[in-house]
Amino acid sequence: MTTNNSDKNNESQQGEPMNTASSSLADVSKQRASQKQPGSAPMGTGLEARGIHAWFGSHLALEDVSLDFAAGTVTALIGPSGCGKSTFIRTINRMHEFIPSAAMAGEVLLDGKDVYAPGTDVTKIRLQIGMVFQKPNPFPSMTIGENVLSGLKLAQLKVDNKEELLEECLVRAGLWNEVKDRLGAHAGGLSGGQQQRLCIARSLAVQPKVLLMDEPCSALDPGSTLRIEETISELSKSMTIIIVTHNMQQAARVSDYTAFFLSEGGPGRMVEVGPTTEIFTRPRDIKTENYVSGRFG
């Protein structure tokens, strides 16, 4: 994984002792590193973002972000609100362009091919790069079962055994036991955490190679949050996951790599990226250190 050290940084002192808050994060992070197992299912060769810029009208919101996401890894994007993390992941699955005044520059390579290449079928891209949103958004007019399989219906994909796929997705999302007897019930009757897991199952049904998660737990209680984090760990064995989070402990718990974004009144930039354990114990940039130790943000 290439670490991208933007030349505009102020280098921090190396290896300075951190305060207690970061040490506990560091412990969690180290724990995570030891649990990682190599993935088994074919999942493509990963995702590369090169020189991503994003505009809203004439306002530059994101500047020159380059990141590599190796297959089978979990990368957390951390940083204060408004520094472009959500905008960044929306340029990856081409949701950014729905905003009328949006513009971008740069490339996003999925398995080596630019998703913005002229003539690309954008709906196919979104099948391969799925997204889970901050607020759970199951389709209220559909049952639980229909929700999970809705992606197939929308893409008009034929699947031999729908029930099998349905069960598999719900199992992987950690929801099967709770809903297996009421697949015909309406999705609105589930709790927030259950709805979010339903949304995860829904994304899984189209078998994406990459899953983008935009603060998936920020609207949920701690119990559901933990459950979803377990799910993320499991899922990362068969796909690449990019998760935006405000919760640093969460980043430390689930991710292999962490990228720190910051906007200092101007466009958002990526300050530093590296293995999670290092970002939390020995960040190279003073701004990263200040953030992870809680001095701001």
Binding site: H53, D64, M104, D121
Partner: protein, 348 residues
């Protein structure tokens, strides 16, 4: 320090290749349809348009499916139908405007605005007589209707937004129901309740009463929307200064909503300026100038048009077209004025 001179791009917009393909689809469809009309028994314009739509859709779908697969089928057919539907709606609008101008303009002449039909008959050619009496009548109708409807409408809106009494929900419902009253019924009502019973007989005033019934709900509804837009902080500021509610509303809320309330009035006027049916029962229709709005028959623009239309001769129809052109210009002017005053809110 950033040296980005990177240009913003929109890679999702149609590429030149895609645009050429679309052009090709349209051109081929047009050509094929033309040939079909020439060579087969397909008749005229309708045949051409129908076959053009069908062939263009088929070609578009073929292109889409080749590029994107099966799901493009539904997407492209739906898009075709939607575009066709929208075009079908725009066509009559432009046709109506075109006809009104084309036919109506033929009858325009200066004395139209200075003479009445007192010395001319509807069967005479249009350069005899004019519609001054109708203009005066419409003006009276608008003014009297305004005097009645605007205070009532705004006060009702104030009740709904400022006082919000226990009956507010019910009143809201009633106002909406009132906006559905057919114009015929409004005219009939004024006939039975005012003309038959009270000393006030068929005149501009009774016409205005009927129109007021139609105007009040429009003014109320728009005023209500506008008053709700006034930020609550303004009201609280006034009350916190110790002002009574009445003072707060009169000196702070209403002036803040002033533009919107004017817009509401203009929209109300536009609504009733073109109404014909209620006038049939309430103003009688005169051919001469009547400067007394409370006595004797009166004419009005819509009535003038109606009369020309129902008489049916070429001369009277010409009067009808010219009259409707004038009326249309009036209504459109009001409409544009309301839009400009109302600003962004209206054009959402």
């Amino acid at each position: 320090m950033t040296m980005t001179q990177v240009k913003p791009q929109r890679p999702w917009k149609a590429t030149p290749r895609e645009i050429t393909t679309s052009f090709g689809v349209v051109a081929s469809a047009a050509a094929i349809s033309y040939l079909l009309v020439l060579l087969t028994g397909l008749k005229g314009k309708i045949g051409f348009i129908l076959s053009f739509i069908i062939i263009a859709t088929i070609l578009q779908v073929a292109v889409g499916v080749r590029k994107f697969g099966r799901k493009a089928l539904g997407d492209n057919i739906a898009a075709s139908l939607i575009y066709v539907g929208a075009a079908l709606v725009f066509l009559p609008v432009f046709s109506i405007l075109y006809m009104a101008v084309a036919k109506g303009a033929a009858g325009l002449h200066p004395s139209l605005f200075t003479e009445t039909m007192f010395n001319a008959s509807f069967l005479d050619p249009i350069d005899k007589g004019g519609l001054l009496h109708a203009l005066v009548g419409t003006m009276y109708l608008i003014i009297i209707a305004m005097i009645i409807s605007v205070p009532m409408g705004i006060l009702t809106a104030l009740y709904l937004t400022e006082i919000k009494g226990p009956a507010a929900g019910f009143i809201q419902f009633i106002v909406q129901a009132m906006s559905g009253v057919p114009s015929v019924v409004a005219g009939l009502f004024i006939f039975t309740s005012v003309i038959l019973i009270t000393p006030l007989k068929t005149s501009a005033a009774t016409g205005a009463l009927a129109l007021a019934i139609l105007m009040i709900p429009t003014v109320t509804r728009t005023s209500q929307e506008v008053l709700l837009l006034v930020p609550h902080d303004l009201r609280e500021a006034g009350l916190a200064l110790g002002a009574t509610q009445w003072k707060t509303v009169a000196t702070i809320v209403v002036p803040a909503a002033r533009n919107g309330l004017i817009t509401a009035t203009i929209l109300g006027i536009a609504r009733i300026a073109g109404e014909t049916a209620p006038l049939i029962f309430t103003i009688g229709g005169a051919d001469k100038l009547n400067l007394n709005p409370f006595k004797d028959y009166q004419s009005a623009l819509p009535f003038y048009v109606w009369k020309g239309l129902t008489l049916g001769t070429p001369e009277s129809l010409q009067r009808a077209w010219t009259g409707i052109l004038i009326l249309l210009i009036l209504v459109l002017t009001l409409f544009v004025a309301a839009r400009t005053l109302g600003g962004k809110k209206m054009g959402k």
